[in-house]
Every structure is written in structure tokens, then in C-alpha cells.
Amino acid sequence: VFGIVNADANLRQAGSSWVGKAIVYSLSSGVAGAATGALLGTLGSWLPESGRIAVASLLGVAAAIVGGGELYYGRWRPIQCDRETPQRWLGAGALRWAARNGAALGIGATTRIGFWLWYAIPLAALLYGRPALGAIIYGLYGLVRGGAVWALLLGMALRPSTTPLAFRLLLHVAVARTVAAAALLALGLVVTIVVGF
């Protein structure tokens, strides 16, 4: 959102349309996610199905344990790069920034991941072994992560506040962690039931 509403001439953002940036950003995020999912799906299709099923069943149990652990005993830090997208990218120009930033967040691996649930997305795309399904799962993630900017901008317009948006979002991080942990536990259970162990 900071980059989209930014109109700093020093960052080559003066006169840029926020609507154009938001469209490019959210589309880039979705497309990058879908492309990564398709790539992982293709890689997965080269692996033997029995091996993918065995790995998926083990990961299902692991997901249920991690999700349950986070839900009942508190946060376990996920393995991640833990960094934001570089702000110097803003200097590349409005639409280039939007495309690059959207793609980085839509793929997610090189940015702050924050939740163990994220790992379900690339692993599912890989282990399904079907490029189309990989593209749908990963693409949906990218589209939601990038497309959320529209909901945030709408929220800012409808409910103006003196508190910065970043602080307002940070206040919901505990609820987001609980919901993500619950979703991970539920996903682990579904994998366990569907794939078996």
C-alpha cells in the first residue's frame, strides 16, 4: 500500500496512477504465483507418485502437529528469509515497481513468510504433480496476497483513521496466527484422512 499510494518525485513515482499500480501489482502477484505453481507441478510430475504420496502423508502428520502446537502452545518461528521487498525498487519507476513487488510477494519465498501454513502452498503444488492444479493453488495464494491491496485501500477510504494502516493491521496479527494455525491443523487432518499414513 505504501508503494501504491507513493507519489514521491525522488523515487520516480510522481504523477503515477495508483489505480494502474494497484492493477499491475495484484495481477503480477497472481500471475507469478500461478507460474511458480505450474513450474512446481511440472517438477512434481517427474517424481514417482508413490514417493509423493509417502511424503505427503508424512507432511500431513507434521502439519497437524505444527498447527496443533502453535494453536495450543504458542508460536513456533517458521524458517524464512524474514525480509521486506527492498524499497529501492521504488526507484525503478511506478509500474516496474508494481510488477516486481507483486511478483516477489506472489511467489513469497524470498519475502517474510510469517506462517507455517505458507509452506503448504509450494509443497502442495509440487506433490500434486499436476501443473494446472499447482497453478490454481499457488495462483490463488498470489492473487489473494496481491489482491488484498484493493480491500485495504477501500477500507482506508471508507474508515479513515489517524492510526497508520500498518499499526492497525499489526493489531490483528495474534488473531491471524490463531486462524492460520487452525487452518494448518485442519489441512494436516484432511491430508491424513485423504492420503492416509
Binding site: L71, A174, I193
Partner: protein, 96 residues
């Protein structure tokens, strides 16, 4: 002795009721303040219910996973994965 135990139990129940009432009042007065003060979201009734439901689901899931061994419809797996993609995409908006 029995009466004393009974009185203690009644007092304990009242105290629990007061605590939950206090939380509800705070929620009505200021939603933000509730979030800031309650750094342990497990105190929220909705979360506690969710935990209970998931504990039950976990038990059912482990038994069903062991007995069923891959007999369930794979469509459910895709639904769960798509939901996970949506949840994590939204949850990540709260990251700094």
C-alpha cells in the same frame, strides 16, 4: 467442611462469571484496547470453542486417517488447500 467446599465452589463460579463479563464489557467499550490487553487470544470465547472443536477433529482425523487410509474423496483435499491459500494470503497482510 462440606459447606465450606460448597461456598468455595460458588465463589469460584462467581469469579469466573465476573472475569468473562469484564472481558465482554471491554470488547464493547473499545475493540482495539481488547486486542492490546489480551495478548493471549485464547481468552476469547470464540478461540476456546475453536480449540475444542479442533481437538475433537484431531482425534477423529487421526482415527479416520489410520482406518480410512486414502479412501476419502480427493476433492476435499483440493478444497482444504484452496482455503489454506486464501487464509495465508490474508493472514500475511498483518505482517510488518
Amino acid at each position: 467442611m462440606a459447606r465450606l467446599r460448597e461456598r468455595r465452589a460458588v465463589l469460584g463460579q462467581r469469579r469466573r462469571r465476573l472475569v468473562s463479563h469484564d472481558l465482554v464489557l471491554r470488547l464493547h467499550e473499545s475493540g482495539w484496547e481488547l486486542h492490546l490487553r489480551l495478548d493471549k487470544p485464547k481468552l476469547l470465547t470464540g478461540t476456546a470453542t475453536l480449540r475444542r472443536a479442533l481437538t475433537l477433529a484431531a482425534a477423529v482425523g487421526v482415527v479416520a486417517g489410520g482406518l480410512g487410509h486414502g479412501t476419502a474423496d480427493r476433492g476435499w483435499l483440493l478444497v482444504a488447500l484452496l482455503l489454506a491459500a486464501i487464509v495465508v494470503g490474508i493472514a500475511q497482510q498483518t505482517l510488518p
